[in-house]
């Protein structure tokens, strides 16, 4: 857990954080002579105030801040009047985006989704056969591609020979619901998710007729063994499509990759990691679910200029001998972070909504105690003969 206490010097930060660890700083020779130095608190004090000014976690749950507005994104947070020229340009942009692009895109999106529902229903009636599979693939690809056009998403796929194959699990970093569209328009996957009600639920039920997706009831989600069993059964069947999973469990703002939940890494199969990086100059693709509802988010996306992103298919990975699920998950996460140019964090994305566990504070305390005890013993050894008299 040293990693949490000695922050890396990141280019994304606004303050200079010394890459000194707790042991190094506290064991520096200084006056006093005692084993506990009253200046030991200065280390914790400074680290604490540094985290108040800029911390690694909370900023991952809001949209990435750009240095300055670049005309291409929707607007800047520190939007203040810079010049009349700029305001006019922005106004023109708004007219074009909302008056022309948005209606066009909404029409496309509705068409895409409508076609998806109708065509998959038709394919669903066919008896199970190779023809059905073939048609299902074609229908899915076509409809997802229409939806991708509806967002004017300009996607560059790299290393397509590493594309996920049947009987494997595809894992990717999660930034927004659009990730699914981006991946599904280039390959066919079985999706995993919670069964919703309403329109979403209807779409889910229709999709499953043509293609074996895995939808869980809310009650089943809590049962980890059940989830693991269904996933294992699916990958064991080599005729079924690869599963698409986002192990972070929540949307992160595309500057970093947070802790991968180990569930999908416990299953014995090949993992196909995928890194998705959105170009921040063209717009903010991150879905801040506490701020915007899904519909508002989609409208934002459809009234931006474009969504530009890169997708890297990484070489498949398997769990090695003697490696447990957590270590494997971290290894995959590092590979994705490195490829996508994202920061690799150990922190849990769930911190978006929940408090950090006490056990991490206890680890900090343990670390400090160890240092203190070492110093005490060192001093007693040096002073031993004198003190015992």
């Amino acid at each position: 857990m040293k990693l949490i206490c000695s922050p890396l010097c990141l280019s994304g930060g606004i303050i200079a954080k010394e890459p000194v660890s707790l042991e190094q700083e506290i064991q520096e020779p200084r006056g006093g002579g005692g084993e506990f130095d009253m200046s030991d608190i200065l280390y914790f004090c400074r680290r604490g105030v540094e985290s108040i000014v800029d911390d690694e976690v909370t900023k991952r749950f809001t949209a990435e801040e750009l240095e300055s507005w670049n005309l291409l994104t929707r607007s800047n947070y520190n939007l203040h009047h810079i010049s009349a020229r700029l305001t006019v340009l922005w106004g023109l942009g708004v007219l074009i985006r909302y008056g022309f692009l948005l209606p066009l895109r909404v029409t496309l999106a509705v068409t895409g989704v409508g076609l998806l529902v109708v065509l998959t229903s038709i394919v669903g009636w066919l008896p199970n056969s190779r023809m059905k599979k073939y048609l299902s693939e074609k229908v899915n690809l076509m409809c997802y591609r229409i939806c991708v056009r509806a967002l004017t998403a300009i996607i560059t796929y790299h290393d397509s020979d590493n594309k996920p194959k049947n009987g494997g699990i595809c894992v990717a970093n999660h930034t927004s619901p659009i990730d699914v569209l981006i991946l599904a328009s280039d390959g066919c996957y079985s999706m995993v998710g919670q069964a919703h009600g309403g329109l979403m639920g209807f779409i889910q039920k229709t999709l499953v007729k043509a293609c074996p997706h895995i939808w869980f009831e809310r009650s089943e989600v809590k049962d980890r063994h059940l989830v693991a069993k269904r996933l294992s059964d699916h990958v064991a069947d080599k005729t079924k499509l690869p599963i698409l999973i986002f192990p972070e469990g929540t949307c992160i703002n595309n500057t970093s990759v947070m802790m991968f939940k180990k569930g999908s890494f416990e299953i014995d199969c090949t993992i196909y990691p995928v890194a998705i990086k959105y170009d921040p100059r063209f717009g903010n693709a991150f879905w801040n679910s506490s701020k915007f509802r899904m519909v508002t988010y989609l409208l934002h996306m459809m009234s931006s200029w474009a969504v530009v992103c890169s997708v890297w298919y990484l070489p498949p990975m398997k769990r090695e001998e003697g490696e447990d699920a957590v270590q494997f998950a971290n290894r995959v996460k590092s590979a994705i972070a490195r490829k996508g140019g994202l920061v690799d964090l150990l922190w849990d994305g769930g911190l978006k909504r929940s408090k950090v566990k006490e056990v991490f504070k206890e680890e900090q305390q343990k670390l400090y105690s160890k240092v203190l005890v070492i110093k005490t013993e060192g001093l007693l050894l040096a002073w031993g003969p004198m003190r015992s008299s």
């Binding site: 006093g32 506990f36 009253m38 200046s39 004090c45 604490g48 909370t58 300055s68 305390q365």
Partner: protein, 199 residues
Amino acid sequence: MGLPLVESALQWNSGILNANRDPKNDDVEFQITRLYSRFHSLDKGENGALSREDFQRIPELAINPLGDRIINAFFPEGEDQVNFRGFMRTLAHFRPVEDNEKSKGHDASEPLNSRNNKLLFAFRLYDLDRDDKISRDELLQVLRMMVGVNISDEQLGSIADRTIQEADTNGDMSISFSEFIKVLEKVDVEQKMSIRFLH
């Protein structure tokens, strides 16, 4: 796809934005803007003031053994909310001492980030009841916060006793502020209690 077009658009754009800036005010203005932006993002209730819960939402601060004491330092006596002014005042203790060269003070009083005031900030982390003395109990409390359950009461007690013995010069079994200053006279407080902004 049209990325060269984008590059030239970005260049033209930054030309417009840079035309109106005065480089002299950049540093201070930049820092204040960033800190205000940070204050605003911590303020979930959006009421212009931070509460203790807002600070505790920062994971790195929540796992810091002295987290609660540090949060306390932001809140004046008996208050539950801190506004931006108070936030800045407390953070001002951590400005590097060199920064005073850039902004020559208008008033003659000691700047908040002087060595003395930095030490006072640290002293107050120990001295909870603000009686200007660190008693054995207060020292033990801070020690307990830093080591958790990993060291026994007796051992902690003797560490506290030894510390007081070494620092206490006037025999009142507690550490006053001047005794505290003396103990830390060889420590590079300016460096350990300073936070530098990146540009």
